[in-house]
């Protein structure tokens, strides 16, 4: 069974790299590992300048519950701990700079009884491995695997939606490592005590659907081929399409008894639980018309974008924009010195043929944004309210429910910077809420 969610768009998919197998890239001479690669508090460095590290040595300690450990992806020497450019955060972020010597690894012990690991030990090993959501949100996975007791999770959804144009790392992972993903799904189910596992994949990835169907038989998991429509890979929309359940406004998937994990995260969980291996490398797609060597690459966390671009043949002259992530939700970077982090699903080198700097025009009230908004919002209205400073009204019109998928701004014929205005409105409404809370306490 596959249902649908309301709204959404059909952008050109431009999956230029679907047929390129995953290729490993050698690390550069020096890597930069940010201590903040996740939602929540940045990790605290546990090494000092001059320290010898191996693959898997913990170099950053999680601070508090919503945080994640950081590990060295290579063996070498810590050169410095400096503020460095970051692919998704503004300003400079404390990072561990490591001089790369080799690939000598810490001793990881394989657990022969991994299949029967207890929920607690799964969460412990996931926490120890520093796993975060690899689809882009980077939320610490051990937290997600520990939903509140009053909300039992009955269904685990493995997200193979990958609805962002250009990106193909999940497609390749599903084709090349379907068994590992399914094993990870089994462990996720084990951790939260769910009955059912559904693997949802957009129908523009038939090879991945086939591979996952074969692999899923081992555990009797369902594989559902979903209508290809952006943002099918968004948690809330995926749950709606697969189960018909709606996550309540302001709520999380566990409120409707569901846990969603990305396919890459599932694989990382499997590797952490069975082999004790921390998350220190990932697959990403290098693409865009400006990329001379587009493909899917396995790279060490901390590898600068510039190294990947150089090693694959460089960027064409007419590249005007470099994106960390996908073209609809990704972030434009200002320098190629930013490193790959745990949630970097792609590096896009866009030319003026694919992207344009848009001059904003007045809204002509065509209603397209209302039609395509998968959250049932009126983007033209809340954007205007945010822009004009009417944050109370924007709040009443559910500005906080916006998932910033960009469908509205993509489809807007007036080129309104809808997401930008709405993001501003959201941050101002959060300030209002904080103020209200403080006043309530005082």
């Amino acid at each position: 069974m596959s249902g649908k969610f309301k709204g959404g768009i059909h952008p050109p998919y431009r999956k230029l790299t679907s047929e390129k197998p995953i290729e490993s890239l050698e690390p550069p001479d020096e890597i930069v590992v940010p201590l903040s690669q996740h939602t929540g508090a940045p990790a605290k460095p546990t090494v000092e300048k001059g320290a010898e590290v191996k693959v898997g040595t913990r170099i950053g300690e999680a601070q508090g519950y919503i945080s994640a450990h950081v590990h060295s992806p290579v063996s070498g020497v810590v050169k410095s701990i400096l503020e460095k450019p970051h692919p998704t955060q503004t300003g400079l972020v404390p990072s561990v700079v490591i001089e790369v010597k080799g690939t000598e690894s810490e001793d990881f012990k394989e657990d022969p009884n991994w299949e029967d690991a207890s929920p607690e030990s799964i969460r412990e090993r996931v926490l120890a491995a520093g796993i975060v959501g690899m689809g882009g949100a980077a939320f610490p996975t051990h937290v997600k695997l520990n939903p509140p007791k009053e909300y039992p999770v009955d269904t685990v959804i493995i997200n193979g939606g990958e609805c962002e144009p250009y990106l193909t790392p999940d497609d390749r992972l599903m084709r090349e490592h379907p068994e590992d993903i399914v094993r990870g799904a089994h462990l996720i189910r084990q951790a939260v005590g769910a009955k059912r596992v559904i693997i949802g994949i957009e129908d523009n990835k038939p090879e991945a659907v086939k591979a996952m169907r074969d692999a899923a038989k081992a555990y009797g998991f369902e594989v559902s081929s979903l209508h290809s429509k952006y943002p099918q890979g968004s948690e809330k929309q995926l749950i709606k399409a697969l189960l018909g359940r709606e996550v309540p406004s302001g709520g999380l998937p566990f409120h409707v008894g569901v846990l969603v994990q990305n396919v890459g995260t599932a694989k990382a969980i499997y590797e952490a639980v069975r082999f004790g291996r921390p998350l220190t490398e990932r697959v990403l797609t290098l693409s865009g018309f400006g990329a001379k060597g587009p493909g899917n690459y396995m790279v060490k966390i901390g590898t600068p974008f510039s190294h990947i671009i150089e090693k694959t043949g460089g960027a064409s002259e007419d590249t005007v924009k470099i994106i960390s992530g996908g073209p609809l939700m990704g972030i434009a970077v200002w320098t190629t010195e930013v490193p790959v982090i745990k949630c970097t699903s792609g590096i896009l080198l866009l030319t003026s043929r694919e992207t344009s700097d848009r001059q904003e025009g007045p809204c002509i009230r065509c209603g397209t944004c209302v039609e395509v908004c998968p959250m049932g919002l009126s983007p033209y209205l809340i954007a205007r309210e945010s822009e004009s400073g009417f944050f109370d009204r924007a709040r009443a019109h559910h500005v906080l429910d916006c998932i910033e998928c960009g469908s509205c701004a993509y489809a807007c014929p007036a080129r309104r910077h809808l997401v930008q205005h709405i993001r501003y409105g959201k941050s101002e409404v959060w300030k209002l809420i904080k103020k209200e809370k403080e006043e309530a306490v005082a």
Binding site: P12, K321, I323, G367, H397
Partner: protein, 321 residues
Amino acid sequence: MKLILSSSPHILTPENTKRVMYLTLLSLLPPVAAAAYFFGLYPLLLVVVSAAASVLTEYIFLLCRRKNPLACLDGSALITGVLLALTLPPSFPWWAAVIGSVFAIAIGKQIFGGLGYNIFNPALLGRAFLMAAFPVQSTTWTKPITVAPDAFTGATPLAMAKFSGKLTPHLSLFLGNTAGSLGETSSLLIIIGGLFLIILRYVDWRLPLSYLGTVAVFGGIFWLINPARFPQDPIFHLTSGGLMLGAFYMITDMVTSPVTKLGRVIFGIIAGIFVVLIRLFGGLPEGVMYSILLANAVRPWIDRLTMPRVFGVSKKKEASS
């Protein structure tokens, strides 16, 4: 390498406002051609003069408001001018058309803040102004040159039906071989232009359908009850006067119509009811212009009433909070 740093999304639909406006303008070619065919070359002059006056007024206002004056070429002012001309009688004085165009853009659009901010359809507001300012010229009609080559004055089919109970044959109404405003007489050619816009998805079919459907059904009820007093049958209602032009080009104006599908249906029904009430019980033979202006006035309320249900919020809970 110089990198652009704008916010997501980084890819955009090729659709844009200018394209919407100019393709809409293109779709107006059949009705404009019909105007020339049925009423001669003077109507073309009216179209050109109104369009030019509209664009010039827009330019001056944008300049005074310190906006980019070249935005007057976005096509929206051109459409207003052409549409206004198409609602005028074929022998309407050209200088009065200029006054109407200036009013349409200045008072109908720029005063509100320009494109996207006006409440009323500017072309119709201009037409309403001309109706008040030049009542005689605004209601003096000529027969088509295809019927009477010497431009005789003649009553419109709606006036004949209302005041003398005489019905014009359906085929003449459908093809446009009757007295009337420049661009309103040929239902056939307006429908061709309108279908083009529906295929391009610049017009939501719900608007013309609910508007026309309401007029046909509501008007038809009166015709069934008392055909002696209300001789206008549904097909007559649909093909006479400015209804077709209104249904495909006026009520469908994006800026002044609702943004939701349900809102558009309600909007069309409200306007349709007004058309029938004015045509059958009002002092004027035609009610399309006022029906749409009245619907424009309640449009903000319709938008508020038909806001979509937000994902994860139940309608009931929203109403009680």
